[in-house]
């Protein structure tokens, strides 16, 4: 304490000098516009500089938080991206020729996109498909279901939100088909063998079909519009009664890999049936 007091006493003139010099400069800046403005500008500038330095320093230390935030956001965006990509995939699934052809044929029909949620199709077994569209979405029994590879099956039972489909690879399934360009038609059956193959029975013997010919829907059943791709002829053989041909068909649809399908909504089905009945009664 004594030392401090001594120090203060000894250098009193120094403190006095600082005080008086401070007063002088205050007066200078206070009463002279030019000096005052220069001083204020310089002071503002240095204050701004200090603030800027502080701000950048603060920003630097905040980088950790920002990084965590960015990671979270990135994850969120990736999830969103995945969802959008899936949506885009289902929206622009149309890539193969068959699919384009199918779409062309179905151009006038209303298609209801659906997803297979349960797939019971397998070799030697009468399996069913379940799709995630039901009565609520306008699905009704006996509507056709098509996919990228062509015909898939027919709606059998309809729930509120889901629908059961009898696929082509079901022994009860019977779809009216024809050989493209020849108009000879028969019914597509499945013998319970491979899920990649089905059989077309009752093809007249005079119908000149060869392996490789395209089989498509005939349109006679009112379930499917005509011309939807079903498969290609693999082998031509005699039917069991020997009166007609039996065609082994390689199906266009791979039931082992089935996800996105379309239900062919045919609102005029009742009308068509009515007309058919009327025609029947006329004969």
């Amino acid at each position: 304490m004594q030392i401090l007091l001594d120090f203060l006493r000894r250098y009193n003139y120094l403190f006095l000098f600082i005080l008086l010099e401070g007063i002088s400069l205050t007066l200078l800046f206070q009463f002279n516009n030019y000096q005052g403005s220069v001083w204020n500008t310089a002071a503002n500038e240095s204050a701004a500089k200090a603030n800027e330095t502080y701000a950048s320093l603060e920003a630097y230390f905040k980088l950790g938080d920002i990084n965590a935030l960015l990671t979270t956001e990135n994850t969120k965006l990736q999830q969103e991206n995945a969802v959008l990509r899936a949506a885009l995939d289902s929206a622009t699934h149309d890539t193969t020729f068959t699919e384009r052809k199918v779409r062309q044929e179905l151009a006038g029909f209303q298609l209801l996109p659906a997803r297979v949620v349960s797939n019971g199709v397998r070799r030697g077994h009468d399996g069913y498909l379940v799709i995630n569209r039901g009565r609520k979405d306008g699905v009704r029994p006996e509507m056709g279901v098509v996919g990228g590879g062509g015909v898939i099956g027919i709606v059998y039972l309809v729930g509120e939100n889901y629908a059961l489909i009898i696929p082509v690879t079901h022994t009860k399934s019977s779809i009216s088909c024809r050989v493209r360009g020849k108009n000879y038609f028969g019914y597509l059956q499945w013998d319970g063998g491979s899920t990649r193959m089905a059989q077309l029975d009752d093809v007249p013997r005079y119908a000149k079909t060869r392996a490789g010919n395209v089989i498509e829907t005939s349109g006679y059943s009112s379930v499917f519009p005509p011309g939807i791709f079903v498969g290609r002829v693999h082998k031509v053989s005699n039917s069991s009664d020997g009166q007609s041909y039996r065609l082994d068909i390689v199906l266009g649809t791979d039931f082992a890999n089935l996800r996105d399908v379309n239900v062919v909504v045919t609102p005029y089905k009742a009308e068509i049936r009515q007309l058919q009945e009327k025609a029947d009664s006329l004969q």
Partner: protein, 171 residues
């Protein structure tokens, strides 16, 4: 004591009057303005408390500022000069005089010692004064010319005072 202080007070008042009435209006070749009021600090005797130098410098500067409308510039400059004058006096005074109390003059310090002392003090004052007044280094050459010429003119006036004072005293 009174005999010593009264002439000094009179000298200081005279310097202030001369500054405001005469010297402020001199701008030799547009640059040089004499500011011999620094003389009031120079003639303080060796051994004077340093706070007196500082306070006197500030007060004198304040008065000159008020009368010549340069608020703060002379006060700031003279306060600094008050701080360094004792040091300069110690540096330029002859060694044999430092032990005792003496008044800086051509008689005690010789012309060479006194002039060196006066030039150093005056130079510091004019430099700080002009720096505070222009408050920019926009035209450093002009500033230097002003400082040097004003210093020279001030020293000439102070030497004249010194000569007058000593001749009047000896006469």
């Amino acid at each position: 004591m009174f005999n010593v202080i009264l002439p000094r007070i009179l000298w200081i008042l005279g310097l202030i009057l001369a500054q405001t009435l005469v010297f402020n209006h001199i701008h030799l070749i547009g640059y040089a303005t004499p500011m011999p009021y620094v003389y009031a600090l120079i003639m303080l005797p060796h051994g004077t408390s340093r706070w007196i130098y500082v306070v006197l410098g500030f007060a004198l500067g304040l008065v000159v500022d008020t009368l010549s409308n340069t608020v703060g510039a002379a006060a700031g400059a003279l306060t600094l000069v008050g701080l360094v004058t004792p040091l300069l006096l110690r540096a330029f005074a002859p060694d044999d005089k430092l032990e005792e109390e003496f008044t800086p003059s051509i008689r005690t310090m010789q012309w060479s010692g006194f002039l060196k002392f006066a030039i150093a003090v005056t130079f510091i004052h004019t430099m700080v004064f002009f720096l505070l007044e222009t408050f920019s280094l926009f035209d450093p050459l002009r500033l230097l010319i002003e400082v040097v010429s004003s210093t020279a003119l001030t020293v000439i006036f102070m030497a004249t005072f010194e000569k007058l004072r000593n001749t009047s005293r000896s006469a």
